[in-house]
């Protein structure tokens, strides 16, 4: 009877114990997982809006007919939900569209005075989720990005701890690997150093005002989060860090760089090293020249062409090719996740991955009818393979739905009214 106390049985034990007397009800015990696989939440960002004409499928439902761009989803079509008709803060248009399409992407924060730049920033949905589930993993959240150009912080961050306080992001593959899998520096001195500098920060915070105080409080929080990581790692030793071949430094080839970062992200999700991640495939406004696919012009310049003009019509096709190149990076990642068995399904079944841009058309700087995809099974809460057309629901409603999926008991965020319906 002893073996029955174990929740899951190996087939061999069972066969040896029960012999040919095996009856059907036993099989259920055998296949029941010890606990449900954790839900992972990922947010992938592309800059500059899209060629919207080629993005939105003409028809709705499971047999939707994709335009040129989303035809690239074919290999993973059953895992992806195409969402259209969703607006971010309908009716609010800022003068400078590109920061507006980036900084509040995951918070839908209104223009406010909490952020000195006058842009809208507040804690983002990924960080709200990390606050909920992050304590259970080595890394509460992982922020990645491909473009390391020095630019305005409102165009280079989608993940925020709070107003005016970005999470920053990593772009060096080796550094990301170390952060995920190497042991955090935790010799005896490190612990007491952190202790001392934390105390200094606390003391100084009382003496400072204005922006200096904000910076010191941020420092204090950073030290606290490192202490929590070290503490977690000391209780959960990583026995076999996964192996992956990585170059020294950052690859100069964009696609190689993007693929490496997605490989690392897949590894992080697979090993349950983190359950929350953001990935900026590029910063706003997206000034890349896509020579890889024969587009010499920069993406931002192309996005600003007026399609009513002769040149504009000519270049719309190039814009579509860029959109597709980004989607293909996403598809490649989904294929990897779908190939990793976990529990009864795959890792992808236990993910909710939002993909999209903060702008609709780069040229218009508008945020109505945003280009959005939602991939993964969401632990049964998302049913892909469909195009759902909404009627102007707030993007924050999708944030709220993803928050609730992840188990956060949050009533509402920003201008949300209810969790977005129709995902399953």
């Amino acid at each position: 009877m002893n073996i029955l106390r174990k929740r899951t049985l190996s087939r061999r034990t069972l066969l040896r114990g029960a012999g040919s007397m095996l009856a059907l009800p036993w099989l259920e015990i055998m296949s029941a997982p010890a606990k449900a696989a954790p839900l992972r939440s990922v947010f992938m960002f592309v800059p500059g809006g899209v060629n919207h004409d080629e993005w939105v499928p003409k028809t709705e439902g499971a047999d939707y007919e994709p335009g040129k761009t989303l035809a690239a989803l074919a290999p993973v079509r059953q895992h992806v939900l195409v969402l259209s008709g969703i607006n971010a803060r309908h009716g609010e248009v800022g003068a400078n569209g590109h920061p507006l399409g980036t900084a509040p992407w995951l918070s839908s924060a209104p223009l406010n005075d909490k952020d000195r730049g006058g842009y809208c920033t507040d804690i983002s949905v990924d960080q709200l989720i990390a606050n909920q589930v992050g304590k259970g993993t080595r890394l509460p959240s992982l922020e990645l990005g491909c473009d390391s150009d020095s630019r305005s912080m409102h165009e280079t961050n989608i993940s925020w701890r709070g107003p005016a306080s970005p999470m920053g992001k990593e772009f060096n593959p080796q550094d990301i690997y170390n952060r995920l899998f190497a042991d955090p520096k935790a010799d005896a001195y490190c612990t007491s150093i952190l202790d001392a500098v934390r105390e200094d920060a606390k003391r100084l915070s009382g003496q400072l005002g204005g922006i200096d105080k904000e910076k010191i409080d941020e420092y204090f929080e950073a030290v606290r989060s490192i202490e929590r990581r070290i503490e977690f790692a000391s209780r959960h030793q990583l026995e076999n860090p996964p192996e992956i071949k990585l170059p020294d430094g950052v690859p100069s080839d964009y696609l190689e760089h993007a693929h490496l970062l997605t490989d690392l992200l897949v590894l992080a999700l697979q090993t349950d090293t983190t359950r929350v991640s953001t990935f900026m495939l590029n910063n706003e406004p997206g000034r890349r020249h896509w020579n890889e696919i024969g587009v010499k012009e920069d993406h931002h310049g192309l996005a600003h062409l007026d399609p009513r003009s002769a040149e504009g019509r000519d270049k719309l096709d190039k814009l579509q090719r860029i959109d597709q190149a980004y989607v293909e990076i996403f598809v490649r990642m989904l294929q990897q996740l779908a190939a990793l068995p976990e529990g009864e399904g795959t890792v992808l079944d236990h993910c909710q991955i939002a993909y999209g841009s903060g702008l609709t058309w780069g040229r218009l700087h508008n945020r109505d009818d945003l280009p959005l995809l939602l991939a993964g099974g969401g632990n049964g809460m998302i049913r892909g393979g469909r195009h759902v057309r909404y009627r102007g629901e707030a993007f924050a409603d999708l944030h709220l739905a993803m928050l609730r999926n992840a188990g956060a008991q949050i009533e509402r965020t920003a201008d949300s009214t209810a969790p977005l319906r129709g995902l399953a």
Binding site: A95, N96, R116, G117, E143, S148, D149, S150, R151, S152, M153, T156, N157, A164, P166, M167, G168, K169, E170, N172, R179, K185, A188, Y189, C190, S192, I193, L194, A196, E199, D200, A201, L204, L208, G209, G210, I211, D212, K215, I216, E218, Y219, A222, S225, I226, G249, H289, K296, E297, G301, H304, L305, D306, R308, S309, E311, R363, L364, H365, N366
Partner: protein, 507 residues
């Protein structure tokens, strides 16, 4: 951080110890307080760097060899070591450490000794802590609360020294500046100005030239600018040298104006420029100063007298002309916007949403030359409000192609570089523009430069309450032939530079 480590430890590293991401920028500069954040992953990198640095035996041996003899020897070796740590604290925190701070950080030394480490290792542990302390990583102005009046207080001597040093050297104060602060002399405006003049003459001011001028002129990313091969022509295979040469010309101009304490108007309209072979080719300088010396792309630079004012100065430099072009053709709107922002100090409002953009439009495609196309664009009242200011400025530079090579015509159409400013002032081409900037518009240029310097120096944007100060600085500079050092010393002596607002701005 690498710069600060260099000054604290007197040691420079060829290879980076850790990869730090670039600092985010705001208001055109990456030194703005508001955009310099410290997310957890960055703090981890600092910890990592401090650990790696102090684990390097060679670094420690060299550091201690230098520090020990300078320290007053007492009978107690541990006392000597604590003295060294206190000295490092003073340099690292850019002010005399408080007693509690000395105890806290020398405590690491004592702890390590107790754990059986040798004296060198014990000192390394203390240094490791100092290198990640908030007082080292942040330039805090915590000052003396009792001096506050109406939400403003004067900076302490040490705070002033740090502001000055980061402005002109981008690092912590050197011993001479620290000494002036120790003696309490820096709050005397004349002492402060004398220190500034001394620092401008020091080789470290190169940091300022590079850091400030590349960002002011928005050419810091020039190395990633890749003109189309059809435009680059003969330079196609030497793009890296090409971009570097273009940027160096501007840096050398700035350095010369600074070193010879010339009028800042020479930044726009000098009587000399610096050229190497690449630039001779770009600028079509026939009378090549190089006869049989150097190879194309050679690093050799010569000072070349300007007889033809189509060349020389920031507005007709290849660097700014190229960066404000598209890869395949010129972009008068970009150039106009740049002139307004960087030279005339009139920030144009951003384009209205839903306004068609001409960017990336090949010039003569559709049969219309750019001038007519832009004119057509301005018949729309919504566009005209801004483009009446942008277009005539940018079009005045149409004689320079997308990499700055002079041309008289484009295709079959002869280039018309005449223009009218919004206030009705008429001018013709780049020389006309230079005449304006030397003459009636010179104060606008000096004010624009002052505002950029001010923003860079203070790490915050110019506010409405600074306007009178800036007006005063421009007046003082004008009275002294707009001399470079006068502009700098007037900024340094100004009220906003020497004071701290202790209450945040209300919006």
């Amino acid at each position: 951080m690498p710069e600060m480590v260099r000054f604290v430890l007197h040691r420079q590293f060829q290879e980076p110890l850790v990869h730090l991401p670039p600092d985010p920028a705001a208001h055109g500069f990456d030194s703005m307080a508001e955009s310099l954040n410290l997310p957890p992953f960055l703090m981890e990198k600092y910890l990592d760097a401090a650990e790696k640095l102090t684990a390097r035996e060679d670094v420690w041996q060299a550091f201690i060899k230098r520090a020990r003899p300078r320290q007053q020897q007492t009978g107690d070796p541990a006392e000597t070591d604590r003295g060294i740590i206190a000295d490092v604290l003073k340099r690292a925190f850019r002010r005399p450490p408080e007693e509690g701070e000395v105890t806290r950080y020398t405590g690491f030394y004592d702890l390590a000794i107790k754990n059986g480490e040798d004296r060198e290792r014990a000192m390394a542990v203390a240094l490791r802590a100092i290198l990640v302390a908030p007082q080292f990583l942040f330039r805090l102005e915590s000052g003396v609360a009792s001096e506050e009046k109406g939400g403003v207080r004067p900076l302490t001597d040490h705070e002033l020294a740090a502001r000055l040093s980061y402005f002109l050297w981008d690092t912590i104060p050197d011993p001479e500046l620290s000494r002036a602060a120790d003696e309490g002399a820096l709050r005397d405006p004349e002492v402060l100005a004398a220190q500034a003049r001394r620092m401008l003459r020091h080789p470290r001011a190169e940091e300022f030239i590079r850091d400030f001028s590349l960002q002011w002129l928005r050419i810091q990313n020039i190395s990633s600018h890749a003109p189309d091969p059809s435009v680059l022509g003969a330079f196609n295979n030497r793009l890296k040298n090409f971009n570097e040469a273009l940027a160096s010309e501007v840096l050398l101009l700035f350095a010369t104006v600074m070193a010879e304490d010339r009028s800042v108007l020479d930044l726009v309209d000098p009587d000399f420029t610096w050229v190497n072979l690449t630039l001779c080719n770009v600028y079509g300088i026939e009378n090549r100063p190089y006869t049989g010396v150097g190879k194309p792309g050679s690093a050799e630079w010569l000072r070349y007298p300007i007889t033809d004012r189509r060349r020389g100065g920031i507005i007709t430099a290849g660097a700014t002309l190229m960066v404000n072009s598209n890869p395949t053709h010129t972009n008068p709107i970009k150039r106009g916007k740049w002139l307004l922002e960087a030279v005339l100090g009139q920030e144009p409002p951003p384009p209205l949403p839903n306004v068609p953009n001409l960017e990336a439009t090949p010039v003569v495609q559709g049969g219309l030359p750019i001038r007519e196309k832009l004119a057509q664009h301005r018949t729309d009242a919504a566009c005209a409000s801004c483009h009446a200011r942008l277009d005539p400025l940018g079009l005045a530079l149409e004689n320079y192609d997308a990499i700055g090579v002079w041309r008289d015509s484009e295709g079959k159409a002869e280039i018309d570089a005449s223009g009218t400013l919004k206030d009705g002032t008429k001018f013709n081409g780049p020389i006309g523009l230079k005449d304006l900037l030397r003459g009636p518009k010179r104060n606008e240029f000096v004010r624009c430069l002052t505002e950029h310097l001010f923003t860079y120096a203070l790490g915050r944007p110019v506010q409405h309450y600074d306007i009178a100060t800036i007006h005063g600085i421009v007046k003082k500079a004008e009275a002294d032939d707009n001399r470079f050092s006068t502009l700098i010393t007037e900024i340094v002596k100004s009220y906003p530079f020497c004071h701290l607002k202790t209450k945040p701005d209300t919006l």
